[in-house]
């Protein structure tokens, strides 16, 4: 599937568009469909305003609509707050000039011109709201030296507006106001132009973000922090290409499991563990967050494992190794058979990997002496290849000195000791233990209705 160039990063990871552009394009698609003459939303002229009448909205539509309104694609004609409500309010579409996809980052000078212009127009209809009056006062102080110029711009704008047709003026005024509602929102409203700081440091498009809404010249605008120009697209060097080829060759050579097997494994995993998923099944005895009863946590912390917990040990060896009580029981069983050296080795190597680096060499030596050296007290049986590799590793000891040996021992335990443990009477007894007559079968939550 061919990908649109602007969406795919070049070799430097630079993209043409900001991540938000994807969102804006989707919204504009919906707007286009809404505005379609044949199938879109009916538009009526009401009292000399061009408005649309909303039909009954579903919860989903309200949510989506509010989102689009918050971004400024349409707006209520008589409210600063940009939401969509199912109460018969009238809305108007925003003109494409003001769409967020044009990457507006209007300066305060533009806002000052706008507010100043509002004070020059017909006061009754366009009186400033309290927060706007405060903003204007602040801007007058901030731009005290440039104020004459700003005033002149505002006057010029107001003159142009007066020449317009009355209806056109009302529409444009409302669209302009909606634009500023997005970029200078009413206090308490969410500012949808806020960008995640992780993304904002990557948005480097000076020619898009620096244009003025009212075409003001550069000389009166304060300098924004400079955006560094995007670095030149780098072609990979010969060495990098060779590395890439090596990587891709290794990728090609890797074994891939059939999708059917993978799908089966995912399905069986989720089915097996669904009984233990508190979002799908009520935990036994209860979910402490819902019942305010912390028995579940107390049981988890105690040395006496409940049946459901013991049952999990039977799924796969990792479940026993993960659970401290499981490990203890497994070790106890093996000790009773005088075959605990494998597990003890495995546990020692796990613990080694968490040690601070300065303790590692000593510990490696200790483990070697205990389990692998000639005449070791807890000698383990490792294949010769792993043994030779480990002998080498121990000479320059690091955290992963025993990786090969550990993997070999893990496989042994999995196929041998673990299956014996699960079949042992010790394990079976733990599994059968009945606590206060509670059943082994977990309860499915009533909300989870099996639908097809």
């Amino acid at each position: 599937m061919a990908k649109n160039n602007s969406l795919h990063p070049n070799s430097n990871g630079e993209t043409e568009d900001s991540p938000n552009m994807l969102v804006y394009r989707k919204m504009e698609d919906v707007i286009a469909r809404m505005q379609d003459e044949k199938n879109g939303i009916p538009i009526r002229t009401v009292k000399s305003f061009l408005s649309k009448i909303p039909s009954v909205f579903s919860v989903e539509a309200l949510h989506l609509g509010t989102l689009m309104a918050a971004h400024g694609y349409f707006f209520p004609i008589s409210d600063h707050v940009l939401t969509l409500k199912d109460d018969g309010t009238f809305y108007r579409f925003q003109t494409p000039y003001f769409w967020p996809s044009n990457c507006w980052e209007p300066e305060n000078t533009d806002y000052a011109v706008y507010l100043c212009k509002r004070t020059m127009q017909n006061k009754a209809r366009l009186e400033l709201a309290d927060y706007e009056a405060e903003s204007l006062a602040r801007l007058q102080r901030a731009f005290a030296r440039k104020w004459e110029f700003i005033f002149m711009q505002a006057e010029a704008q107001a003159k142009v507006d007066k020449k317009r047709d009355k209806i056109e003026r009302k529409i444009l005024d409302s669209q302009e106001r909606a634009f500023w509602d997005v970029h200078r929102p009413v206090p308490g409203c969410v500012n949808t132009t806020e960008v995640d700081i992780k993304k904002s440091s990557r948005m480097k498009k000076p020619h898009k973000t620096r244009k003025s809404v009212y075409g003001l010249q550069n000389d009166i605008r304060s300098n924004s922090p400079t955006h560094t120009p995007a670095p030149e697209a780098k072609q990979p060097t010969e060495e990098e290409l060779r590395e890439q080829i090596k990587f891709w060759q290794a990728q090609l050579d890797r074994h891939r499991l059939k999708m059917s097997k993978v799908a089966e494994s995912l399905l069986s995993y989720t089915e097996q563990y669904s009984d233990y998923d508190p979002f799908l099944c009520t935990p036994d005895p209860s979910n402490p967050w819902i019942s305010d009863d912390t028995t579940f946590w107390e049981m988890e912390a105690s040395k006496e494992p409940g049946q459901t917990r013991v049952r999990r040990w039977g799924f796969v060896i990792n479940e026993v190794l993960k659970d401290p009580v499981g490990r203890e029981q497994f070790l106890k069983f093996l000790e009773s058979e005088f075959s605990s050296e494998n597990l003890r080795f495995w546990l020692a190597v796990q613990e080694l990997k968490k040690r601070p680096i300065r303790e590692v060499p000593t510990r490696v030596q200790e483990i070697w002496e205990e389990f692998l050296a000639a005449g070791a007290p807890s000698a383990i049986n490792v294949d010769s290849k792993s043994y030779d590799k480990t002998t080498q590793n121990v000479k320059d000891p690091g955290r992963y000195a025993f990786e090969d040996a550990q993997e070999h021992i893990y496989k042994l335990m999995k196929s041998d000791s673990y299956s014996r443990f699960i079949r042992s009477s010790a394990y079976q007894e733990l599994l059968q233990a009945k606590k206060k007559g509670k059943s082994l079968i977990p309860k499915r939550l009533p909300a989870v209705v099996q639908s097809c």
């Binding site: 990908k3 990063p9 070799s11 990871g13 991540p19 938000n20 994807l22 969102v23 989903e60 949510h63 989506l64 989102l67 969410v190 700081i197 992780k198 440091s201 990557r202 010969e238 060779r242 890439q244 080829i245 990587f247 990728q251 090609l252 890797r254 891939r256 499991l257 059939k258 999708m259 059917s260 993978v262 799908a263 494994s265 995912l266 399905l267 995993y269 989720t270 563990y273 669904s274 233990y276 998923d277 508190p278 979002f279 799908l280 402490p288 967050w289 819902i290 912390t294 946590w297 988890e300 990997k353 968490k354 601070p356 300065r358 990786e403 909300a447 989870v448 099996q450 639908s451 097809c452």
Partner: protein, 339 residues
């Protein structure tokens, strides 16, 4: 034909062969296999607790155990909460308020955070005098710190806007391994359940699987059309879930080396900011820019629930290790616990 030209051709043809090899194992899609399975019924989670205390946008939250979690906010604070009682166990003032990530050590002894200061700061929660102090400042990244996760009390992995991930030795404060290969800012990372590998999602639209021991990139997954903001392992450790600005989440399987399924809906237009699987992996909870969190049936790829209650973007989400509850953090400065 020049040497470079030849190499480029070789690289391209290898990529084509890999695409073909991936296709060759597609004997059945996940959808086909689960066609007979019922969709999980409607999942309705309720807010059980609201954690109030931050004064500004919350950028990150991470669970330490079934009750304790740590959150980071632009108000310049790290708060450790006992979410069950809603008490603040620690309120740690940060040197830099531009924090983007936080993490709780599995031992419960430490927390870490970082952001625009390009550093990962480690705080000792169990100091002798009871005060929480900076234990280490891990500095070497040349870009912002987007995510960090402890392996144990001695090792931590970080991802950065400088396009690399790093494994640090906390005691010495040095970089043990640098994982380089992404072509865009690394936004998020997740550690495998067995702690041998980790995954990273980046602004080059790909996710990479790294071997912690030898520093190599083992696998790369593409398919997203925009930045990958969130990434996590499926609980079985064999699959990876990603969330992107292209408004979709994807499930990639490590053993078949490809994408299994995409979670998207034409009614969802906003980017995914965060995600977390439920305990069994059957549900995927994902936070979006449109202030909601959607719950997906991971096998059937259908939306089975919504968490709505935040008044601004959901920036982070996490499920407790025992799966009992999930926590959402938002730009509205609140954390909510749901189940």
């Amino acid at each position: 034909m020049g040497e470079m030209e030849q190499l480029r051709k070789e690289a391209e043809s290898l990529k084509d062969e890999i695409t073909a090899a991936r296709k060759a194992v597609q004997d059945l899609t996940l959808q086909d296999h689960v066609a007979g399975t019922a969709v999980v019924g409607r999942v309705q989670l309720k807010t059980r607790k609201t954690l109030r205390g931050h004064l500004s946008k919350i950028y990150a939250v991470h669970w330490g155990d079934s009750k304790l979690c740590v959150s980071a906010s632009q108000d310049g604070k790290l708060i450790v909460w006992d979410s069950y009682t809603t008490n603040k166990v620690h309120a740690i003032p940060l040197k830099s308020s531009w924090v983007m990530t936080c993490a709780y050590a599995p031992s419960g002894n430490m927390v870490a955070c970082g952001g625009l200061d390009n550093m990962c700061s480690i705080y000792n929660l169990k100091g002798k005098d009871g005060n929480v102090k900076v234990m280490r400042e891990l500095a070497a990244h040349t870009g912002y710190l987007s995510c960090c996760r402890f392996l144990n009390d001695n090792e931590i992995i970080t991802s950065s806007g400088d396009c690399t991930c790093v494994l640090w030795d906390i005691e010495t404060g040095s970089q043990k391994t640098v994982f380089a290969g992404h072509l865009g800012d690394c936004m998020s990372l997740g550690v495998a359940p067995d702690f041998n590998t980790f995954i990273s999602g980046a602004c080059d639209f790909t996710a990479k699987l790294w071997d912690i021991r030898d520093g190599q990139c083992r696998q790369t997954f593409g398919g997203h059309e925009s930045d990958i903001n969130a990434i996590g392992f499926f609980p079985n450790g064999n699959a990876v879930i990603t969330g992107s600005d292209d408004a979709s989440c994807k499930l990639y399987d490590l053993r078949s080396d490809q994408e299994l399924i995409t979670y998207q809906d034409s009614g969802i237009m906003c980017g995914v900011t965060s995600l977390a699987p439920s305990f069994s992996g059957r549900l995927i909870l994902a936070g979006y820019d449109d202030f909601n969190c959607n719950i997906w049936d991971s096998l059937k790829a259908e939306r089975v629930g919504v968490l709505s209650g935040h008044d601004n973007r959901v920036s982070c989400i996490g499920v407790t290790p025992d799966g009992m509850a999930c926590c959402t953090g938002s730009w509205d400065s609140f954390l909510k616990i749901w189940n």
